[in-house]
Symmetry: C2
Subunit: 145 residues, 2 copies
């Protein structure tokens, strides 16, 4: 968080450096930034509400909580259209990176972690750069980014 105490200027939102390192930014919805996780094991998007200091969902006001729900639903539907997945996993964990972020992962019965959740089960696998670029482009097309 920026230190702006006493200036009257609200702190600016910045993406946590760990999230920035692990993802590619696809674009911005009204509340949240849409990130594509660099783990090629799973089609995996992350939504990060642009609210400085938010750690828990309940740190957001009720209007923002509903907006986040709407954006999670929009991303989940887009991911299902893109991947024809068997199941969506939606989670706000944040034990390692405290900045509030919501994982939306498209799961297939044939993926390397199925049926377990995706965290800590198999090592992340790097995308082929062209494959990552194509997936990011497909995500952007879903949202007209």
């Amino acid at each position: 968080m920026s230190t702006t105490m006493g200036t009257g200027v609200p702190p600016e939102w910045e993406l946590h450096p760990q999230l920035a390192a692990d993802t590619v930014c696809a674009g911005n919805l009204p509340l949240a930034q849409v990130l594509v996780h660099r783990d090629a094991n799973f089609p995996w998007l992350v939504l990060v509400p642009r609210r400085p200091g938010a750690v828990e969902i309940i740190d957001l006001d009720v209007a923002d909580q509903h907006q986040l729900t709407d954006e999670v639903a929009r991303v989940a539907k887009a991911l299902r259209v893109l991947t024809q997945c068997d199941k969506l996993n939606v989670a706000a964990i944040g034990n390692v990176v405290p900045q509030l972020h919501v994982h939306i992962v498209a799961r297939r019965r044939t993926d390397p972690a199925w049926p377990r959740p995706v965290w800590g089960v198999v090592p992340a696998r790097a995308y082929d750069p062209a494959e990552l670029a194509a997936f990011v482009a497909a995500v952007r097309a879903q949202f007209n980014f």
Copy 2:
């Protein structure tokens, strides 16, 4: 799901038997049933919207999605009051039990899975019956069940 095709009677909602086996029912919020997970490793509640056939959050209509968000927030706040936890984990996974359910887990830096998510990391630990009864009573008191 009940088979009521052609009768005009909507199918009744029933709790999935695996969720019934793993939890104690604390009571009902307007949309979702509040369950206490029998794993003593973590203070762990589960919300199950009483909507027959719902598997994904996006299977709910928008009003129900917002209501579920409100109930998740209410449960998260109650759990934080009860446990003084370090972090809340909120997740809809459902790879094993398809009935839509949302996990709300109170995490502590000293718990046996920290900082990993709770699934599949350590074996479930049975509660002492008096300890479980006390926790269920404390949850019910939070909601006036």
